[in-house]
Symmetry: C2
Subunit: 164 residues, 2 copies
């Protein structure tokens, strides 16, 4: 007779195989991306991602909250990062005219140059470490798996604004 919470359903071999590999990838990939970008541009992958989002935005400008959603950052984290980027002259913060509470982050010319300089090396790393080892079929499978996972990992679809 069960008295406490339901028995744990442990992972069967197929589940365990998939899960362990996903954990390994999740653990290894950030380090690879950070190392390459830090070495060649002095940017964190997260900093690069922030700059890249701004570079694709209209007028190279986004509200802090929007930028936080697109990069999956908390607002405090983004605030600190943007301050550091501002210290380096890659971004400026401008009070939003329409809403006195809001702040707009705007990519400077120097920031644009930094993204343009960093992009080729970054793309090359993504190719050699992630895309090239996969077949075309696996690429499609990965997209669908990513969609399925993001349904639960990001139910509000905050980060998926990029590709939806």
């Amino acid at each position: 007779m069960e008295t406490g919470p339901a028995e744990t359903r442990w992972l069967d071999p197929a589940e365990r195989d998939a899960w362990l590999r996903l954990v390994a990838v999740v653990e290894l990939l950030p380090g690879i991306l950070d190392a390459q970008l830090r070495g060649s541009s002095g940017l964190t992958h997260f900093e690069y991602f922030v700059l890249a989002m701004l570079s694709e935005a209209p007028d190279r400008t986004l509200r802090m909250t929007t930028l936080a959603q697109r990069t999956n950052a908390t607002l405090p984290r983004l605030s600190h990062v943007v301050r550091r980027l501002e210290d380096r002259g890659l971004v400026v913060r401008v009070p939003c005219p329409e809403d006195g509470r809001a702040t707009n982050a705007h990519l400077t010319d120097a920031g644009w140059d930094a993204v343009v300089a960093a992009a080729p090396g970054h793309v090359e790393t993504v190719r050699s470490h992630v895309l090239d080892p996969l077949t075309r079929e696996q690429l499609d499978q990965l997209r669908d798996i990513g969609d399925a996972l993001l349904t639960t990992l990001d139910p509000e679809g905050r980060m998926t604004a990029l590709f939806e």
Copy 2:
């Protein structure tokens, strides 16, 4: 005529689709795992993983170097983490008898209890956020994709000792 380095091959739409989703997953998953474990057991996912590796090892003991490989940690990182776990009584460090340079990390009974207590909630999180959204077919695809990626992300197969 090309003079500088080769032109960058930018990502085509299929590549971009897959890549952006993978980045999102890699960015989101660690936070989910950490939050659940920290809330229910006061353990980081990495700390949990360290304890779990020890719990499966013969005599619940592993050399620091081996443990670092299995968890994809640098030795300094692992050293700090193990010291904190030792402060909490979950692990003890014992000088290795066969090699005076080496240190063995051994899971205490309290550490074993901590893993056993934390495991069900962790597995439940893995199920609800990762495994359940995927079809059985996608589970197999994910395993193969993981294998392909780990070939380049972890060429020495240090982390794959778990399932190879």
